[in-house]
Amino acid sequence: MNTTRDVVIVGASVAGLTTAVTLRTLGYDGRLTLIGDEPHTPYDRPPLSKQILAGTWEPDRIRLRTDEELAALDAELLFGRSATGLDVAAGRVLLDGGDSVPYGSLVIATGVNPCRLPGVELAGVHLLRTLDDALALRAAMLRGPRVAVVGAGFLGAEAAAAARGMGLEVTLIDPRPVPMRRQFGDRVGALVGELHQDHGVSVRCGTGVNQFLETDGRVTGLELTDGVKLDADLVVVAVGAAPATGWLRESGLLLTNGVECDATCRAAPGVYAAGDVASWHNSHFDAPMRLEHRLNATEQAQAVARNVLGAELPFAPVPYFWTDQYDARIQAYGIFPADADLAVLHGELDSRRFVAAYGHRGRVVGVLGWNCPRELRTLRRLVVERAPWSSIGAQECLTAAW
């Protein structure tokens, strides 16, 4: 272990907090500062678009640590403060209000910001990233029966499911031909579309938004690219997110797709990144990667904490992510490139209980389970072993996932 002192972590969500916790677990006893721009103590995000939106959980339940556990970290906790700049040469993080914090090692874990559309400033239009966003959206959903969700990725699809669960009239809009296409491809995406239709969602895929319709600054509907005008009391905009690197613009760090790091998640001497904001080379897939997944935030933070303390180990995980919509629990290990092939290994696609493998360049690179958690966990090894695509013995071989 080296003699690192004064670790500063910017970002106090899962990645930032886990870095702090892991440093202490590993015996780091130097100064530790955790800076987060939200006023809340650290909380978990996956439930925001599920249980918090549906109202089945109170916000207190998604806290990542109790006050006692936070106090036991023996860290300076600067919540409700934003980092506004980084001076790498001087080793200082600049804060809102003009003061700054010196660091020996810096961990950047500022996550992502939701992408916006023109019209997003209208009353009745909601983004969904923070706890406050989720509570505001839930309050609006309790008032307005007609919801338009723009974007059918993880967040949009989950928000649509939560809104249907509240009995609202929901339209799900995405310019791609099926929901979750970017994540899972056409075959599985089509199943997600059918799932939503079966639960009463009007799925309008292959259609974009031309403009937001409004009266006196409040949204009244959408005009779609196919000319259709849709009435809506509220609109959820879930069109992806961009790395929160605005504060690093003058830092000299490479910011192509988030904070560019090497295989050990190091961006510059003494500077590391973890979680949604970090782009690094995953040697298991020999590919550059930036993941907006819950488990990655934990695992990458743990790896970064070890590397801050001198381990210098590459971070080469098999990614894991999941989504819950209605009674469907879709879980996935690995990566899902846009030109992958797909093969069903267990069950059948139409039964909505199956495990499918995704093949790319002759290897299994991903496995996806739909209501098959145990079977999926067992088949994860195909991704770990990078099994040859020709070896997997699929019941049904389909040619293209997309």
């Binding site: 886990t18 978990d44 996956p46 488990l295 743990q302 999941w322 629990r329 879980q331 958690p373 966990r377």
Partner: protein, 65 residues
């Protein structure tokens, strides 16, 4: 070490089984984790700590004695 599993928070990721399969398993029907041993032997403690640390739902709590 005393292990508590909060099944109401579990998201069925199976990470705990990958980390410590002698202590955790998953239900057949929905993948929710089940605790096989709430006071595992010392040799399993590191694996159980890892399971608790990676759980993406923070559904495992440990009381270290």
């Amino acid at each position: 070490m005393r292990v508590t599993l909060h099944q109401d928070k579990c998201v069925a990721s199976g990470q705990c089984v990958l980390a410590a399969q002698e202590v955790f398993d998953q239900r057949d029907e929905d993948g929710v984790a089940v605790l096989l041993d709430d006071s595992p032997p010392a040799g399993a403690h590191d694996d159980v700590r890892h399971a608790a640390a990676v759980c993406p739902a923070l559904a495992i709590t440990l009381a270290e004695s």
